[in-house]
Structure formats: C-alpha cells, structure tokens
Amino acid sequence: MSPFLEVTDLFKTYGEGETATPVLKGLSLTLAQGERAALLGPSGSGKSTLLTILGTLMQPTSGRHVMLGEDLTRASDRARTEFRNRHIGFVFQFHHLLPDFTALENVVFPSAVAAGRETASARHRGTELLARVGLSNRVNFRATQLSGGQKQRVAIARALMNRPELILADEPTGNLDRESAKQVMDLITEINREERTTFLISTHDDNIAQACGRQIRVLDGRTIVDGQ
C-alpha cells in the first residue's frame, strides 16, 4: 500500500547555467495520514521550497511527488490546481486573506471557486468553521477589521473548508503574540486529533516542534533527521 504522501529523490534548482542555485538536493520524505509533523531547519535550508512543491504550487526539477496515489510530479497546471483545491489546505505566516472580503467569504472561497458559486451549504459550513475557531461573532467582519490572531484563525478555517487531507502550515504562529500562537497551535492539534487531517508545519519554534508528533529537520536541501 502506497503512503499518504511520498517524495523521492527531490531536486529543485532555481535559475540556469552560471546562476543556477540548487535548493533541494535529493530530498526524500513520506507522510502518513493523520500525522502532525514539524519541518525544521535554518533559513535557506529548503523548507519553504519543499512546502510549495508539496502544495503543488511548484514542480521539482527532478524526483517524484506522489500524494493519495496520484503522481503530481509532471501534472499540468490545471490538474495540480484542481488537486490543490480538493486535497490541500494552506496556513501562511502572513494569513494572506482577501482584504475586500468578509471572514465568511474568505473561508468559503475554496469551495465557491470550485463550485462556481457560493452555495448555502458552503456558507453553513463556513459559519460552523468560524464558530469552531472562536470567531462566530466576526462572521461578517472584513479581513481588515480583524486582529492578527483572528486573521490567522480565519486562515485555518479557510484551510479546512474543503475537508483537505493535508494542511501545509508555514510559520503559522510566526507573526502572532504568545497567547494567539498558543490558541492557534491548540486549534491545529484539536483538528488533527478529531479529523485525522495531516499537518506539516514549517517552524523555527522548538515549542511548536515539540507539540508535533514528528520532527523532520532539513539542512542544505536534504533531510538529515527524521524522528519522533
């Protein structure tokens, strides 16, 4: 049986010729369904590049990328976009909400863009997700009217909207105060336990890494430590 997510001998080089900059140098990794793993490593080690490849936002120079049995290595932009919409959620350090939209509209976006319209059931689920992240009283607030912690919780609700199997989080608490960071990590842990959603969290914070069941350390484009 193939693993939930597997990348094998992954290479990624930016630029060509004399300006070629190799970032990933034969990285291999597997993730099981329901895991909560921390991705650690210094700046420039290749963590963000790995996340963008796993998120199907970018293709590797070489190697193999398989998720849910589907080989995404050389899939078309359209196929990767559809796959990303259905199976992957993102939580970014800078939340990246749509500023002209309300909290609910931001949460519903991944569903609406797939369906071509905002359905009543999507709005219902979006409202439930906002309640779950403690923002039931901010449903119709514009993104610009929310605090940093509230924005990040909206981003988590948005990541959960299409019930993805994998959520990629890039420094999800890096821009939050201690209290907000703890709320966000508690929420991630709760969702991981209750819905068996797989989380891969890129972080520099050892506390967050310790809160994850598995730590994957990347250095110079390769996985050097992978352990519980």
Partner: protein
C-alpha cells in the same frame, strides 16, 4: 462564472472613486461617439434637405430619341437618320401612371409638368426663364413655394404666373403687375404676377416662372402628354430604390436626385468618413483607458491573485474576473454615456425643422445601440491583456512576500 462576477463586482466597488472615474471616462467617450454620430448624420440630413429638399427626388422624363437605322432592303446602301434634337420629347401616356405612382410607399407627391424655356418681358426689360406648367393644386408639391412666398399667393389661373424674387427684381415688377411670357416656340401671353417667392436657391429664384398647365400647353404648343413628372419622396435616401422600381413598373426613364448630385454625395461621404475617424479615436481612447486601469489593478492585486491561485482558483477563473470587470465598466460607462447623450441631444429639433444657423444634430442618428455594443466589445477586448497578465501571477512569489 457567477462567483467570478461576484469577485469582479467586489473589486470594482472596493475602490469606488477609481471605478467611478474609469466609468466616467468611458461614458465621456461614448457621449463623444454618440454626439459625433448625431452631428455628422444631422449635418448630412440638413445639407441634403437644404440642397435637394426643394427639387424633384425622382424625375420621369421622356427618353431621348435614338438614332435609328433604316431597313436594309437590298443590302446595297444603309441610311442613318439623324435624331432631331429640336423636337420636344413628350411623355405621351404617362398620366395613366399617376394614381399608381401616388400609391407607392415613400412617395409624397407626384407633379405632372409641361416645361420649356422662354423670356419674361416687361417693357424694355427682358430675362430668360425656365417655365414650368403645373396643376394649380400642385404648385408647392415639389418646391415649397407657399412657405417661400414673399408676396402674393400661389393661386395659379390661366392668366397668372408665380415668379422668383430675383427675377422680379430684374424685371422691376411686383404682385398684380403684368409681364409677357414668350416661349421658344414663338408663342406669347401676358400674365399677372400672382406671387413672388424666395426659396434661397439662386437658380430657382432668378430663372423660374410657374404657370398653369393650360398656359404652358399654349406657350409650348403641347396639346397632349407631359414633358416630365416630378416626384417628391418622404425619404430622400430611398430615391435610388424608388427610381428603379418606377422604371420597372412604368418602363419609363426615372432619374433619382442622386444622379445629378454626385459632388454633394461625395462631400457627404467624406464628412461621414471624418465622423467615423473621430468615433474610432473615441473608441480607441476607451480601450486604452480600460486596459491601463485594469493593468494597474492587476499589479495592485497581485498578492490577492496569488492567494486565489493558491486556494485553487484556475487561470481561467482569474481571466474571467478581470474580463468581467472590463465588461462591467464598458457596459456601465456605455449606458451612462448613452443616457447623457440622449438627454443632451433630445432638446435639439431634428434637422428637418432646424432653424438656419442652429446646430443640426439629429438624436435619431445617435447610433446609441452601436455605441453601447462597440464599447462593451472594446472594453472586453481591452481587459484581455490585463486578465492574461493576472492569470500568469506566480502564487509562490506572492506567498513568499
């Protein structure tokens, strides 16, 4: 598509001032387009109306006599008889067609006439005149003499004549005084001046004399038949078609006014081309305005486009969002511009009723539908480049910021 429409609308309403200015710019362009259409069209109508409004629009005249070849009896000699140009050509049975012609669509009036040349004489004064014999009730059927009267009336009898103002001046004659009309056939009759008109066309005012049909028959020795029939139309532009139709029905030669006014038509065509050029520039301005504004919007919204792409929005979806914005701006601006154009043009009288020296704009020729359709298409085309640019935004570069 519905969701792309929602996002497009949200983007447009997010910055109301910028969108308002953009829509206003499009509206001004459409207003210019409509105003130029109405002005050029109205000017054309005004010129045609003023130039040919008082002449026949279709004239049925007798065909020139063709030279004929005598029968070749013995194959030894061919004799050609020269056409006699001195003979007056007569429409012998044309009067039978009058009811038929009057029943044709677009025909406003039919005026059977006896015409010829001669001299108007008063004492020692003598002036060449073109004499037109018309039925008393058809005096104003072609040239509106009633409206152009400066003295007297147009009630023609067998002893009266209506002449142009310049001719009256040349002969130093007024209403109620007598002149003698001498025809080129040597016939002569004294006639009382019943009325004097000033149409504003020198050829008519200085050289025309209208008499009754009976008087004309006497002067030109035409006992039966007609010299010609003049026809006035409701729609000047239908002259070519109606002339062909009349020729087909009657078998007579029917000449539209356009045949003798090629220079006027060329002038109108040149004027129309100039108008088209101005309208094209107005459209180009709209396209450039919409394209540049949307390109700016694309650049400003790069982070949001990247996020949408990361959340699963396809390139096609992003294209749709920006093309719909272009279409909305175009349609909204076009409708506002068309509405303003209608409001601005409506108070002006149509060229047919325009006062001399007034602005001859014609609201009926505003090309409102064409302006809206072309603007909407132009705005959509203008948005394609920004939309494609937006669709190519790399989400990775945005997320990294």
């Amino acid at each position: 598509m519905l969701y792309a429409l929602k996002i497009a609308w949200r983007y447009l309403t997010a910055n109301k001032v910028q969108t308002g200015l953009l829509v206003a710019g499009v509206a001004v362009g459409v207003f210019v387009f409509i105003f130029i259409s109405a002005l050029i069209g109205g000017l054309g109508t005004y010129l045609v109306q003023r130039t040919v409004g008082n002449i026949s629009h279709v004239t049925i005249s007798a065909p020139d006599e063709e030279m004929s070849v005598l029968p070749d009896s013995a194959a030894e000699m061919l004799v050609v008889r020269q056409a006699n140009r001195a003979d007056r050509e007569i429409l012998r049975n044309a009067e039978a067609f009058i009811p038929l012609l009057e029943g044709l669509t677009s025909v406003a009036a039919v005026s059977p006439q006896i015409v010829g040349n001669g001299f108007a004489v008063r004492g020692q004064l003598r002036a060449p005149v073109a004499v037109t014999g018309v039925a008393p009730d058809k005096v104003s059927a072609i040239a509106d003499l009633d409206s152009a009267l400066v003295a007297g009336n147009t009630l023609l009898t067998n002893a009266s004549v209506v002449i142009g103002a310049s001719l009256a001046e040349d002969l130093n004659i007024g209403v109620g005084q007598v002149l003698r009309l001498q025809s080129d056939r040597g016939m002569e009759r004294p006639l009382v001046v019943a009325g004097i008109f000033a149409i504003g066309v020198e050829a008519l005012d200085a050289r025309s004399a209208f008499v009754s049909t009976a008087t004309a028959r006497f002067l030109f020795e035409i006992e039966q038949g007609l010299s010609r029939m003049e026809i006035k139309l409701d729609d000047l532009n239908a002259a070519d078609t109606i002339a062909r139709r009349i020729a087909g029905i009657t078998g007579l030669e029917a000449i539209p006014w356009t045949a003798g006014n090629s220079q006027l038509l060329e002038g109108l065509r040149a004027q129309s081309s100039s108008g088209d050029l101005i309208k094209a520039f107005a459209l180009i301005t709209i396209v450039i305005g919409v394209a540049s504004a949307l390109l700016l919007s694309t650049y400003r919204r790069r982070p949001e486009i990247g996020i949408m792409r990361a959340m699963g929005a396809s390139q096609l979806f992003v294209v749709a969002v920006f093309v719909i914005q272009g279409a909305l701006i175009g349609i909204l601006g076009a409708c506002i511009g068309a509405g303003l154009g209608y409001l601005a043009l409506s108070p002006f009288p149509v060229p047919e009723n325009a006062a001399p020296g007034g602005l001859p704009v014609d609201v009926r020729q505003g090309a409102f539908g064409l302006a809206i359709v072309l603007t909407a298409i132009g705005a959509v085309l203008a948005s394609i480049l920004p939309a494609r640019s937006a669709a190519r935004v790399d989400p990775v570069s945005v997320i990294g910021q």
